[in-house]
């Protein structure tokens, strides 16, 4: 009975711990790494890098969604975001779902620079879509709509792509450093 539950699990306990750590890292990065840039969506540069690294470390469909979901719950309870807990939870979750969807369609190769960039851009843009849709539905004022929607869209796309690039380069560096061999031993 014990072995049955262990074999039936999609993610191992070790992988779940790793993904939870990545989720925490996203939330901590969001709080701590505030760049002095007056550009909408600039946090995507580290945000999406972490998601792409998570997908590379735990190469399974649903990894990014789980990281997004976990970081969304954490961020909502920590009161992050200026449009309420639901908006925060949904936008964080959709980052993961969007990234997973594209990686599922393109093949799970997050170390490929182009695939990582496209997936991260899509994931980050999903966050923008949630914020925009919530604003449209509830009438709540969103900063990027007041500034310029085109500028916001470009910001989300560019910083999402840069985050994806950074994530893919990090994965390559980790592979060169032998991290994945080390990880295989730990499993």
């Amino acid at each position: 009975m014990t072995s049955n539950t262990a074999r039936g699990r999609y993610f191992s306990t070790f992988q779940l711990i790793l993904l939870a750590l990545f989720a925490v890292l996203i939330v901590v990065a969001k709080i701590a790494l505030r760049l002095p840039l007056q550009l909408t969506g600039h946090s995507g540069i580290f945000w999406m890098a972490i998601v792409i690294v998570a997908v590379g470390v735990v190469p399974k469909t649903g990894t990014a969604s789980l990281v997004g979901l976990t970081s969304g719950i954490l961020a909502a309870f920590l009161g992050l975001g200026d449009l309420g807990a639901l908006n925060t939870f949904l936008s964080y979750t959709m980052v993961g779902v969007g990234t997973d969807l594209v990686l599922f369609l393109l093949g799970r190769k997050p170390e490929n620079l182009v695939i990582a960039m496209v997936a991260a851009t899509f994931g980050h843009f999903s966050k923008f879509l949630v914020k925009w849709a919530m604003s449209a539905l509830t009438g709540a004022p969103v900063g990027f709509v007041a500034l310029s929607l085109v500028r916001a869209i470009i910001g989300y796309i560019v910083f999402g792509a840069l985050g994806g690039l950074l994530g893919a380069l990090t994965l390559r560096a980790l592979r060169k450093a032998g991290f994945f061999s080390y990880l295989a031993e730990k499993k």
């Binding site: 594209v102 369609l105 393109l106 093949g107 182009v114 695939i115 496209v118 851009t121 899509f122 843009f125 879509l129 925009w132 449209a136 709509v145 929607l149 085109v150 869209i153 796309i157």
Partner: protein
């Protein structure tokens, strides 16, 4: 489907999504009326509210002045033309477009054409009245003496037809 095609499809989907967002926002912007702060003077274009301003907003515009013929006093203020162009695209204004400036409290109004407003030699402008409200003054024949000025302006209507 090749990897390259899939990437192009994903990029295409992203562009389509961005286009949909911009399209919906453009539709929303064209169908919704602006919210005016209390005390604003509304501007209507062909019956639709397009914007408004409070007297203090005019101070951001270039100040102009002329000496009125009746009393020889200097009238100092801001051109109606400059203010209108903050809220209405110039392409929406034709030389024969009628602009009705009204003061409900005084029961006064004046109708001028865009050609008259647009001509800087006519000095169609707002000046602050003694109690902080706006009065419309000009050197135009029907607006060049105190009795013809429109004091306490509270509505501007632009009509194209």
């Amino acid at each position: 489907m090749s990897q390259r095609t899939r990437i192009l499809v994903a990029v295409g989907a992203l562009v389509v999504l961005a286009g949909v967002v911009l399209g919906i926002e453009a539709l929303r912007a064209s169908s919704s009326e602006p919210t005016l702060e209390p005390g604003s003077i509304p501007i209507y274009l062909d019956g639709k509210l397009v914007g408004g301003f409070i007297p203090d907003d005019l101070t951001t515009l270039e100040q102009v002045s002329f000496v009125d013929a009746e009393e020889g006093k200097t009238q100092e203020g801001w051109l109606l033309r400059d203010m209108l162009l903050l809220h209405v695209k110039e392409s929406r204004l034709k030389p024969d477009t009628r602009i009705l400036v009204t003061s409900t409290s005084r029961g006064k109004s004046v109708e001028i054409t865009w050609a008259e407003v647009d001509d800087p030699a006519n000095w169609v402008m707002f000046d602050f009245a003694g109690r902080g409200t706006l009065k419309l003054v000009s050197v135009l024949e029907r607006l060049d003496v105190r009795d013809e000025w429109v004091q306490d302006v509270n509505k501007i209507e632009i009509e194209n037809d």
